[in-house]
């Protein structure tokens, strides 16, 4: 059983722990420059949106060359976005997305990936 990514988890811990600990162990950390705090606040939405978009819009061929992918996955992700924004419940959004993909693939409207 592979354990290679345990090392990655340790590295991720090493860059996460300071941000969790500094404020608890060192007073005054809230006095970072306002611009830096604002930037950090926007990083989450940007990274997560980039991950989602690249995951469903960019595929790679056998040689690793990227190409623009269009498929039912777009509809599923948009449905998840809409349901999550409407109901403020990610689990419902995930159920909607999975249901769309399962039905589309089972009925032949969409092909299985790969």
């Amino acid at each position: 059983m592979s354990t290679e990514l345990v090392g990655l988890a340790v590295l991720m811990f090493l860059v996460t722990y300071p941000s969790r600990a500094l404020g608890l162990l060192t007073p005054g950390m809230e006095r970072l420059p306002r611009q830096a705090l604002d930037y950090l606040q926007l990083v989450g939405p940007a990274i997560l949106a980039a991950l989602a978009a690249v995951s469903v819009m960019v595929a790679t061929d056998d040689a690793g060359r990227p190409w623009f992918h269009v498929g039912v996955e777009w509809i599923a992700v948009i449905a998840c976005l809409a349901v999550t924004a409407w109901r403020r419940n990610l689990l419902l959004g995930l159920i909607a997305a999975v249901a769309i993909v399962v039905v589309a693939r089972a009925t032949g409207f969409a092909a299985l990936p790969g």
């Binding site: 345990v6 991720m12 809230e30 950090l40 949106a49 790679t60 992700v77």
Partner: protein, 255 residues
């Protein structure tokens, strides 16, 4: 506190299970998936790591993006610091590892209701409501995920991008966040098409916030500054809510 904590625990169970499935789909072994949940213990960063690994991003890039994604905890710890200053240093150091969006929201809301610090309240919120269910569910997800013979037929492959966009929705409560997300997605796809998915994710994740900052403050409609109690809901697992005491606009820490 206990009622709120039970709601958080249920959400952690569901979401941790989905994380376990996604990790398995991306090729994580059960040990690797569980190590992430125990050692990193950060839902969004863990989900993102699944995508980074699947897209072939090199470890330095993953570590950099993790640092940026989890930097918001600095604001939580700064807001909690005054409440916990009487707790011995060693215990605060352990508390820090368990500081998540959920632990912050539960404990600050609890302290405000009591009007004082309750160390046990923090431990219950952080460990019983979040850490234990998150890790148990991770293990269940990654083990059961390995039993599914044809994951794509059951739509397992869509869980990761759908979870990412759902988490992003939870973080968008102002125009700056919206612009950052849209630019991050657009730039990410464009750059990925001309280079690789991994590079696209990094560039989108770094340029999106920079463009978001260009939105004038007057138009930003910031409704919940990070590190305040109202901001906690934004970073909870979507679907979870923490009751807050009336007229609470900020963390209300003792001065």
């Amino acid at each position: 506190m206990l009622v709120d904590g039970a709601g958080i625990a249920v959400a952690a169970l569901g979401f941790g299970f989905v994380y376990g499935l996604s990790a398995r789909q991306a090729g994580f072994s059960p040990i690797e998936a569980l190590a992430m949940s125990v050692i990193v213990f950060g839902g969004a960063a863990q989900f993102a790591a699944v995508g980074y690994v699947a897209s072939g991003l090199a470890w330095p890039g993953i570590v950099l993006l993790t640092a940026l994604l989890n930097a918001r905890h600095l604001l939580y710890s700064a807001a909690l610091g005054p409440w916990l200053r009487e707790v011995p240093f060693a215990r605060r150091a352990v508390m820090a590892h368990l500081l998540t969006d959920e632990a912050f929201a539960l404990s600050v809301g609890h302290f405000r209701r009591l009007g004082r610090t309750d160390e046990w309240g923090y431990w219950i919120g952080a460990i019983v409501s979040t850490f234990i269910p998150w890790n148990l569910a991770t293990l269940a997800g990654v083990l059961l995920g390995g039993q599914i013979p044809d994951p794509a037929r059951f739509g397992i492959d869509i869980i990761f991008p759908a979870a990412m966009i759902g988490l992003a929705v939870g973080l968008i409560t102002g125009r700056r966040e919206l612009v950052a997300a849209m630019v991050g997605a657009g730039v990410g796809v464009l750059v990925a098409l001309f280079t690789s998915p991994a590079i696209g994710i990094i560039v989108g994740g770094l340029i999106g916030p920079a463009v978001g900052l260009l939105v004038p403050a007057a138009l930003a409609r910031e409704i919940a500054p990070l590190g305040s109690l109202p901001s906690a809901d934004r970073y909870l697992m979507p679907g979870s809510r923490v009751r807050r005491p009336p007229d609470t606009d900020d963390a209300g820490a003792p001065r």
